[in-house]
Subunit: 339 residues, 2 copies
């Protein structure tokens, strides 16, 4: 059985990230990780006629770059697994239209990056794909106008709000002799602790992150000591400490190894970043840009990336519903030569 | 390798549908397949306070029934794979909240049923799950108000329109000694032949259906002769003949074996069914209710179910975009005892 415990897939055949890419927009280019992006766009329209076309462009660029960096051609890819925040994941669907590759559409809100990476690794590990791409995107302006107000309105936000990252990230997973290995993936449950405010997404998602991290350790027998870094997707400065507290309460001390992609991607003093970054591209770009670089350099040996998603919609908020959340975790390790 | 050809998964370990369920609403209860549903609701609100809660109820009921019919308990299920038409697949997310089972959210519009069944079979076949549930739902009133107008407006529609099925369907896949076997799944590409009108979804989706069916035969070496029935998801009376023509043009004669779930689910003379049924529940309920019954009775030995999805959104239509479409095919066969 390739499953360990209740909710973790164990990969025995060393699926690896053979190529990955991180694409960002103007605000990401002003952040501390600017040197870890493959491409940074100054123009938030990316030369397109509307925000959705811009985001589509970011996603396509990211997929094409991951394929290229792995030294492969599009027609060698067995499957693209992608999703995004926009209704009917239309950014991913429209991007896939031009690719001519079998397409598996997923939705996990901002947990999409690791949800897709988990499946790509699973397909490669089990021999159902030679090469699979996991990709996702978000765009500040497409998300703002769908979930809140068009940015042109200049609506005010509380400091617990997040800033949706403009960007995309993709990973090409396959068998190979080098590149970071994917060893485990823990698939989350939907957790809802009763938070209703869409301005409190970090707090809403923190219990889902803690639940998945605890499940990961329970299923694998690992402890925080086995990791150099445990990084959540977009809990940011409000939610990450809550997740830490929830873990400590369960006797799981993550100490200084615990951080969040939404904290890392912006400087706290950048204008309008609020509690930090969010959006599918937050975890994707930080993982496939910044973390891949550190793993490839040998700076990090083993990382647990825990992408977090708030599964709300404007309609469910208007209907007075609380916010169901989910988190999916993937263990990524520096890969030597395969034995 | 567990993959054959370019886009088909081949299952060697006999994943089976151990339990399945079909739930419907009032209009489905007036159709010719009424006796094949497990539950039919007279009340389109299903006793809930809004349409979305009603659809959530249908989906939950369907999942619980598939688990029960397989003689299992919820805590034995490794994963629920689900999606729906509503923005951010919120019906599935909210349903998963009460289940406490690891959740994998997918989006493929009306192709969701077979997209999910393919993955459930793949996970079981490769040993990453003992038991996985694939489920989906749609509701006429949730879809109408999101994609078109609230039903209360009484908007007029052309005869090429579809009627979104109110219902849900679920399949529990696992290894066992009896029950229909899943032998192949062909994952589709996104195909867009340039149709812009959201009233022409059957025509828009037909090329995607034909593309996936041709890929299935090419990858597996099978021909239409190997199937008793080849059934599309929701091309209905306009799209199904177009798909047939496209197949014939490629030398693939599907003759009298070729039909569509959207044609079967309603009588043509039922009021307001237009060209036939659509929605995620159309293919799901017909497959998991009607077809399962016929397979279990021995009436059908081998069926290719080709669920079709139109990947449009109201926004993409307003932006003047054409409609990208996809189709995923799963081969389901009458199962004797495993050898």
């Amino acid at each position: 059985m390739a499953k360990v415990g209740k909710q973790t897939w164990s990969f025995k055949n060393s699926p690896r990230i053979l190529g990955s890419s991180a694409v960002g927009g103007p605000k990401e280019g002003e952040g501390p990780l600017r040197d870890d992006f493959d491409v940074l766009h100054d123009d938030p329209y990316v030369g397109q006629k509307n925000w959705e076309k811009a985001e589509e462009q970011l996603l396509k660029e990211s997929i094409q770059m991951a394929v290229k960096k792995a030294g492969l051609q599009s027609d060698q890819i067995d499957m693209v697994i992608a999703g995004d925040l926009i209704n009917q994941i239309s950014i991913s669907n429209f991007s896939a239209r031009s690719l001519g590759i079998p397409f598996y559409g997923i939705f996990g809100a901002c947990s999409t990056s690791m949800q897709g990476l988990a499946l790509a690794a699973q397909l490669v590990d089990s021999g159902y794909a030679y090469y699979a791409v996991a990709a996702t995107s978000s765009h500040n302006a497409t998300a703002e106008r769908q979930f809140r107000y068009p940015t042109e309105y200049g609506g005010q936000k509380p400091p617990t709000a997040h800033c949706t990252v403009t960007g995309a990230g993709a990973a090409l997973v396959g068998k190979g002799t080098e590149g970071p290995m994917i060893t485990f993936a823990t698939i989350g449950k939907v957790i809802d602790m009763g938070i209703k405010s869409p301005w409190e997404m970090g707090s809403a998602m923190a219990p889902a992150a803690a639940d998945t991290i605890l499940a990961h350790f329970r299923d694998t027998g690992r402890t925080p000591d086995d990791y150099d870094l445990i990084i959540t997707g977009d809990l940011a400065r409000v939610g990450n400490p809550i997740a830490r507290d929830l873990l400590e309460k369960e006797g799981c001390s993550v100490s200084e190894k615990f951080t969040d992609c939404g904290i890392l991607i912006y400087n706290p003093d950048q204008p309008d970043v609020f509690s930090g970054g969010s959006g599918c591209a937050c975890c994707a770009a930080v993982t496939y840009g910044h973390l891949m670089k550190r793993i490839r350099k040998g700076d990090l040996k083993r990382v647990l990336v825990v992408a977090t998603g708030a599964l709300l919609s404007p309609l469910t908020v208007q209907q007075g519903e609380t916010i169901p959340c989910i988190a999916h975790a993937v263990s990524i390790e520096a890969g030597g030569e395969t034995s």
